[in-house]
Amino acid sequence: MADEIILLDFWPSMFGMKVRIALAEKGLKYEYRDEDLFNKGPLLLEMNPIHKKIPVLIHNGKPICESQIIVQYIDEVWKDKSPLLPSDPYHRAQARFWADYIDKKLHLLGQRLWRTKGEEQEANKEYIECLKLLEGELGDKPYFGGENFGFVDVNLMPYFSWLYVFEIAANFSIEAECPKLITWAKRCMEKESVSTSLPDRQKLYDFFLQLKKWHGIE
């Protein structure tokens, strides 16, 4: 019986991008549905009644919510191809730790970059420090996952698609500060699973301008 996979998503969402990358890494066919977040469809509300948020993966009718949980689910069900988490429990714990760090710290700091007025310098500095810490964790490895693209790489790449937007909006560049991360991001973008899952930069930037208007920010 063929698997039926539906992804409820919203194209600019970093969380949705993680799931897209994971599905592509596993070579999975799925139906992608872009949700209108101002007018949420009945399927989204039925499949994620608690949070009413995307992404939601629906596998043979059963919903899984929360991007990190979805990515781990995908990795566990389709375990024979492109494993994202390592097999050793300690390395798995480290991968989960960094994914958690990215979701909590980096995400929050990223929002502060464009939502807070008057704190730009401070926000930029903290964001770069956060990235530098991640760069330290990467070290000289080609990927966070080591020789192979892995869980932490999946979790961090979507932020890099938004980084272009942040750099323009907050007027800073990470090129000088985090050269290894830039190299890493370019290496990831060479993977089809990544390049086909991330939105076009210009389209994202235009969306960001809209988002600022909705939030009443100049």
């Binding site: 596998h59 919510c65 929360e66 781990q72 689910y73 300690y90 798995r92 714990a93 989960r96 730790f97």
Partner: protein
């Protein structure tokens, strides 16, 4: 002979837990280790004077709990719980089925992302604001109750990942008593209340609860300047 070989095994394994006695997070780790029968050394941290060891083992967040297994540190309570489950495979706390596992992770995350911050907020707020937060928490408890349904524990017949994460509710009950609030009552939450009783009566879980009187005083001292709303 068997006893000696067991001893050799445990000697080769060094497990340390850095925590604090009233931390909901470090108590989770104690429960998991005890459920698995893992011997460990507990180190009580003074959070206003963190030990060099803690800072070395968790340089990123500088927080407890940290589990150190044979010199290698693991931080973040839910990450530690999964590590424990994958390392000591008997008495599993997570289901093996990927979908069931995803559900367990979802509910643990729900507790940490929604219930826990609300529980802290309710202790820190007063009057009308507190009433609002109480209502919010009660909605969350209703949601958890509907997930529990007829089960003995969230994990089924025995304590699992979600039950351990839901130790948060024990802290909530202590706060409600210490600060004179009414949030989780048997009348409003008969199913959840039944689960709560089973949880605190569980042999392993109750061993890992902060001593009640001390815990009540701790909460009163920390949050008790607000007048209780009735």
């Amino acid at each position: 002979m068997a006893a000696i070989s067991l001893q050799t095994e445990t000697m080769a394994e060094e497990v340390k837990l850095f925590g604090t006695w009233a931390s909901v997070f470090s108590r989770r780790i104690e429960v998991a280790l005890k459920l698995k029968g893992v011997q460990f050394e507990y180190i009580e941290e003074n959070l206003s004077n963190k030990s060099p060891a803690l800072l070395k083992y968790n340089p990123v967040h500088k927080k407890i709990p940290v589990l150190v297994h044979n010199g290698k540190p693991v931080a973040e309570s839910l990450v530690i719980l999964e590590y424990i489950d994958e390392t000591w495979k008997h008495n599993p706390i997570l289901p093996t089925d990927p979908y069931e596992k995803a559900m367990a992770r979802f509910w643990a995350k729900y507790i940490d992302d929604k219930l826990l911050p609300a529980a802290i907020k309710v202790a820190m707020s007063k009057g009308e604001e507190q009433k609002g937060v109480i209502e919010e928490i009660q909605k969350q408890l209703k949601t958890l109750e509907s997930e529990l349904k007829e089960k003995k524990f969230f994990g089924g017949e025995s304590l699992g990942f979600v039950d351990i994460a839901a130790n948060t509710i024990v802290w909530l009950v202590v706060a409600q008593e210490a600060l004179g609030m009414e949030i989780l009552t048997e009348e409003k939450f008969p199913v959840l209340h039944g689960w709560y009783q089973r949880l605190v009566d569980d042999a392993v879980f109750k061993e890992c609860m902060p001593p009640r009187e001390q815990h009540l005083s701790f909460v009163k001292v920390r949050f008790g300047s607000s007048t209780p709303s009735k």
